[in-house]
């Protein structure tokens, strides 16, 4: 029976005017927004989840000033003393830090400016590499005893920073000193990070004139489950050492979980905005469908009379019009799904182009089916009042209607 209502409603569509299709634009935009949001949301979550998992949940980052994603603000500095305090906190397995500075670089008579990373050669090296996503792809890592050796970011290996490719064995000049390139790094994803050059920490302190400062300190805890407690202890010890009151810290201690939460909040805001847009569009679309259905009921008044005369009961008339408005919503939704998929594909494409991490778009079957069902239901709800009006028509009145 429900199949018959569907068939009946499909038949009316070929007679429809452009105007009634235009009313579905709201549904179309709303569903497109929902679909692209959900399909990208999963990919984004996965990309970020992967990133955080790679960093590991047992890591703690300490930066000067109030920090967001490792960006220190103000003239406050972290020094060797701070690192020693962190190392002594119970629960800390390993701690270390690195420095970075914008520096002049020369390769085959070409001069550029880029970030130089001063990289520890002791055991804390692993820790830094994991969190900052430093991975060697060719040649070798810097090791104990290296002094004027360098690893280069992929922009240099690919010949993007300098016009010529920098390969293992080449020499480059940093701040007037000659360095021998021993390795190339894997792609990190963001153009600035990929143009970095890595040299041993001690050498960096010397040639960049950074005697004590650390730009970033990191700690790894022995028990990942206790990371928050250890972070709190680090905060307390550093407060004592730096002689600041609680709430007035000139440094910040963050766990990967904190970062995850920050991302989560940003994501939630974006989601709320998109859902808001979707809700407004769907509402507008719903009103459009309601309007179309009122017109449709009025135009087909005499048909309603005929159907009642040949035995259509009230619930038949109600269902015919409900299904019809549902199908209107469904069609708007179907177009919206296709458009939403295109949007997602486009967004994941440009995230790759822009060199940000690859955000994959997912289209699980339940997203498609759910969106179709949702648009159908919105259509039905919008058509409820017109359908009820059709149902309540008296057959004789409907038949007399011209």
């Amino acid at each position: 029976m429900i199949g018959d209502y569907f068939k009946l409603s499909i038949k009316t569509f070929r007679a429809r005017k452009l105007r009634s299709w235009l009313t579905m634009i709201g549904i179309f935009i709303g569903i497109a927004a929902v679909v692209s949001l959900v399909s990208l949301g999963q990919g984004l979550q996965k990309a970020i989840g992967d990133l955080f998992n790679q960093m590991g949940t047992d890591k703690i980052m300490v930066t000067a000033g109030s920090a967001f994603m490792g960006l220190s603000v103000g003239g406050i500095e972290l020094k060797e003393g701070d690192l020693n305090v962190i190392k002594k906190v119970s629960g800390v397995d390993l701690a270390g830090g690195y420095i970075y500075k914008f520096a002049q670089m020369k390769f085959k008579d070409q001069t550029k400016y880029t970030y130089v990373i001063g990289y520890p050669l002791d055991e804390s090296r692993r820790l830094i590499a994991e969190v900052a996503y430093f991975k060697i792809s060719e040649g070798r890592e810097l090791k104990q005893g290296d002094k004027y050796k360098a690893d280069v970011g992929i922009s240099l290996s690919e010949g993007k920073l300098f016009s010529k490719k920098v390969s293992v064995g080449d020499n480059i000049e940093i701040e007037g000193r000659n360095f021998n390139v021993v390795g190339g790094m894997e792609r990190i994803g963001n153009p600035q990070d990929d143009a970095q050059v890595y040299i041993p920490m001690e050498t960096a302190r010397e040639i960049l004139n950074v005697p004590e400062k650390y730009d970033m300190l990191m700690a790894k805890v022995s028990d990942a489950g206790a990371v928050q407690q250890v972070a709190d202890r680090i905060k307390k010890r550093l407060r004592e050492y730096r002689n600041v009151k609680e709430g007035e810290e000139d440094f910040s201690v963050e766990t990967i979980n904190d970062l995850r939460d920050t991302y989560g909040t940003v994501m939630a805001i974006i989601q709320a905005v998109v859902i808001g847009i979707a809700a407004i569009s769907l509402f507008v679309g719903g009103v459009g469908i309601m309007n179309t259905m009122f017109t449709s009921v009025l135009e087909r008044t005499s048909q309603i009379g005929v159907m009642k005369a040949v035995g259509a009961a009230n619930h038949d008339i109600l269902m015919i019009f409900l299904v019809e408005s549902g199908v209107l919503g469904l069609l708007g939704g179907a177009v919206g799904i296709i458009f939403g998929m295109l949007i997602s594909k486009f967004v994941s494409y440009i995230t790759v182009l822009a060199g940000i991490t690859y955000i994959e778009s997912y289209f699980p079957w339940y997203l498609i089916v759910g969106a179709l069902a949702f648009s159908f239901i919105i259509g039905m709800i919008s058509g409820a009042v017109p359908a009820y009006r059709a149902m309540k028509m008296k057959p004789v009145d409907a038949l007399r209607y011209e």
Binding site: D4, A15, V306, V310, A312, A313, H315, P395, V396
Partner: protein, 229 residues
């Protein structure tokens, strides 16, 4: 008491329509009986209440005052859905304007009343095909009403009226929109149906057609003024 053999009886039926401030007395105390296998014609000037009384006979409308009996049972108190059931199973309607659904093909129009009776698709199609053959329209099964002439549309409408095998066929000026030749053909067809056992009530302006009925009821101003048999 309904007489033996009366399928439908209107007993002192009054119908008042409210049109804004004015009330229209469409029927003023109509009493009539429709017997099994009869061919009854209803005549009268425009606005005399012919359609209204036929609609009452077809359970399409209920009286303001008075009663309607179907097989001796009062239907005046039935719900709209119960009336729809009766209309669907026992009554077939044919209208002056043909009233086919323009978005459906001929065969789909014929199948429609069976849809509301929950008849399965295959059976619906088979029966509709047979009826299209009966009205000699099987070669036009997939045409839309707009592609058919008036006479052809009316034949489709008759097939539709017959599809649930009703006892009574009500035709409200079925030839009113047709030329006299096509009208005569439709009339012959109704006559044939009557011979095969259908009870027929037909509203008409045409005296020649009315003469072919067994009984003629004349209405004027909502009252029966003459009754010929």
């Amino acid at each position: 008491m309904a007489k033996k053999g009366a399928i439908i009886e209107l007993r002192d039926v009054w119908k008042t329509y409210q049109m804004g401030a004015t009330t229209v007395q469409a029927l003023r105390g109509i009493s009539l009986q429709i017997f099994e296998d009869e061919f009854v014609a209803v005549q009268g000037p425009s606005g005399s209440g012919k359609s209204t009384s036929v609609n009452m006979i077809g359970c399409l409308d209920l009286p303001t005052k008075g009663s309607i009996f179907l097989d001796g049972k009062d239907i005046s108190k039935l719900s709209e859905s119960e009336l729809a059931q009766i209309r669907g199973r026992r009554i077939g309607f044919v209208f002056q304007q043909f009233n086919l659904i323009p978005t459906l093909s001929a065969i789909e129009n014929v199948m429609l009343p069976m849809t509301f009776q929950g008849v399965p698709f295959e059976k619906r199609r088979e029966r509709a095909e047979n009826l299209l053959k009966l009205v000699d329209m099987d070669d036009r099964a997939n045409h839309r009403p707009s592609e058919l002439s008036g006479g052809e549309q009316q034949r489709i409408a008759i097939a539709r009226a017959l599809v649930n095998d009703p006892e009574v066929v009500l035709a409200d000026e079925p030839t009113g929109n047709l030329d006299s030749k096509t009208g005569a053909m439709i009339m012959d067809f109704l006559k044939k149906l009557n011979k095969e056992g259908k009870t027929i009530v037909m509203v008409t302006h045409d005296n020649n057609l009315a003469r072919k009925a067994e009984r003629v009821i004349f209405l004027k101003d909502g009252e029966i003024v003459k009754h010929l048999s």
